[in-house]
Amino acid sequence: MNIKTLLAGATLAFGIGAAAHADDPLKVGFVYVGPVGDYGWSYEHNEGRLAVEEAFGDKVETTFVESVPEGADAERVMTQMALSGHDLIFTTSFGYMDSTIAVAEKFPDVKFEHATGYKRADNVSTYSARFYEGRAVIGHIAGKMTESNVVGYIASFPIPEVIRGINSAYLHAKKVNPDVEFRIVWVYTWFDPAKEADAAQALIDQGADILMQHTDSTAPMTIAEEKGILAFGQASDMINFGPNSQLTSIIDNWAPYYVARTQAVMDGTWESADTWDGIEPGMVAFAAMSDKIPADVRAEAEQMIEDIKSGAYHPFTGPLNKQDGSAWLGEGEVADDGTLAGMNFYIEGLAGDIPS
């Protein structure tokens, strides 16, 4: 290990990182928390991996390990990837955070990219997507289109990422439809098709005519289609499962980021960074808008997308109160990233409590 670290230091000192072996393909590894066949979170990361292969052809070699439990197993998989000559490793679950940091410390010459975490090092970057931007847009559409004024929301775990999404969607639905009401079901799982289907059914039974989900399977979309109501997809384009139901879908599009970071390693320009990208660079994308969306609503939605892209509009702009009525943002004030990252409260108007 000592010699290896020494050598690594030497290569770094001479400013010839992985790019030194120009003939060897760059080895890029991916660690997934679920099976690539989940058609949700891990599936989209794998699509990003395929995009890297597509973009660089022979110049890269990509590998992946799926269904890796967080903790000791993840740490071992990362270490073995590093040992077997990978130059860049993407670890794609929040729970890999501490493992990524620990392994990165041992392999200073290998670059790590950790999704959705907040711990960084000289050779560890973090990246995440501002999905709440996408949720603002679908909230707007939902507010305009609901007839029962009940929107069903299938939520996974009460963590900031999910709470932020609920707030953003509700805020924008409420803006265009003061009577709108959000029904929220916490399923305490990211991926359990049967339970998600049951939750969708429960929401529909209680009058929801539009569904949103923050879980990974396509089950809610399938149920929406079957029951003839509308729904928004999550993570990937779920049009196959809801040709009549899907209004649009918020797509996790990791491809541009993965390609850019791989390129950076090739060029030797890679640096540790904290990326929290939204619609503008394309990390948050939308599936084709359904014809069911009236033309004016569609135009408004597209305008909102443009405004968010250009920075003219931030989804969390004051005046905004918290659920208990206390002031959060003043007139024209924009939420700072720190508060957003740790968001643990509902905004005014939402019913119910965040489970704890």
């Binding site: 590998t63 967080e70 998989v77 040992l83 501490d98 775990f157 009460p158 489970p355």
Partner: protein, 361 residues
């Protein structure tokens, strides 16, 4: 017609030969599976069984990792095997493992950030006690109400899982964790951390405990009255009763011990390799250990090897995924086959195969 004739004594020779045959059969059947999936079967088999041990690039790392992965499996399986020998079926070790981890981590987090030498021993105690108490539920229900321990222990796994989810999101949630579920990482808390004892060997206290458990179980079974009672109760329950074996005590001893060992395994895992309580902290060690116990033929030394073999297929399977692009599912199916062949092989140890007509139909 082929029929089986029970051997008076399990065959010594076959005991050693059948595992090798089973591994060989798995390599052939698994190789066929890999070939169907379009991979070179020889390369795949070599990657799974050979590379983790001898690949010059990373074997130095993966060899010690075998111990890390096998440690909890062996520790739990040793405890279970004693009960299995006596006909006492604890299949809820997964739940006891979870509770042990919760109790141990709970103690550590209660003292955070105090640095004191008594914390780690206290955690060990809490982990063992937690697992013991969780196993005592089916134990006491069995002795008091004659309730089936297989089912109660299994059901309690799900209760434990929900309890852990609640803890990870509530009581034990890291207050500095940005609202994400999961406890503090004990790896950053030296007084509570179960570190590698000698760098680069994979040896942590859990692995040490596993080795001690193997020796302890060996002595218990061969040299101690309780061990004799366990074996007697399993082989001839009626005789055991006449010999004055206290069935209640035996049930409580076996369930309690297996629970305590499973709890310890959970504690060492959460304090060491895993580092923190999360919603998905448990990864099935408790269930896999049941298979390990049987693969090891309920013998302490056999369990030691079975645990290492299981660990090898996990680690080799990961290598095969990123080196050859084999899907995780293929590895799972491959492990399933290995278990089938090993379990099937048992028949040769305990029975003679006779070809010819049976005397009694």
């Amino acid at each position: 017609m082929i029929r089986l004739e029970k051997r008076p004594e399990p065959s010594q020779a076959w005991t050693y030969v059948t595992p090798l045959l089973a591994v060989l059969a798995t390599m052939i059947a698994g190789g066929m599976l890999f070939a169907i999936l379009g991979k070179d079967p020889f390369v795949a088999i070599r990657t799974i069984f050979w590379d983790p041990l001898f690949n010059e690039q990373f074997a130095a790392f993966s060899r010690p990792q075998l111990l890390v992965k096998a440690g909890p499996l062996i520790l739990i399986a040793i405890g279970l095997s004693l009960g299995f020998r006596a006909g006492i079926w604890n299949i809820g070790a997964e739940g006891q493992y979870i509770i042990g981890a919760l109790c141990g981590a709970g103690v550590a987090l209660a003292f955070y950030p105090l640095e004191a030498v008594f914390i780690f021993p206290l955690m060990i105690l809490a982990g063992a006690l937690g697992g013991w108490a969780w196993a005592m539920i089916p134990g006491l229900l069995k002795t008091q109400f004659n309730t089936n321990e297989i089912l109660v222990s299994l059901l309690l796994v799900y209760v434990a899982e929900q309890l852990m989810a609640s803890m990870a999101l509530g009581l034990l949630r890291n207050p500095d964790g940005g609202g994400f579920p999961g406890s503090r990482n004990l790896g950053d808390y030296p007084a509570a951390s179960n570190e590698e004892l000698i760098a680069g060997t994979g040896m942590h206290w859990g692995v040490v405990a596993a080795f001690i458990a193997v020796i302890f179980a060996y002595i218990l079974l061969n040299r101690h009255r309780m061990g004799y009672n366990i074996r007697l109760a399993g082989q001839a329950p009626r005789a055991a009763r006449f010999a004055g074996v206290n069935a209640t005590r035996l049930v409580l001893f076996c369930l309690g011990l297996s629970g305590a060992l499973a709890g310890l395994a959970g504690l060492f895992e959460v304090a060491g390799p895993a580092g923190q309580i999360t919603i998905d902290f448990n990864v099935g060690y408790g269930f896999t250990a049941i298979i390990v116990a049987f693969l090891g033929r309920l013998h302490p030394v056999g369990i030691l090897f079975a645990g290492l073999l299981m660990a090898l297929t996990y680690i080799g399977g990961e290598l095969a995924q990123f080196m050859l692009g084999l899907p995780a599912a293929a590895i799972q199916a491959f492990q399933g086959m290995l278990l089938f062949f090993l379990l099937a092989g048992d028949v040769l140890t305990n029975y003679r195969i006779r070809i010819g007509r049976a005397e009694v139909a």
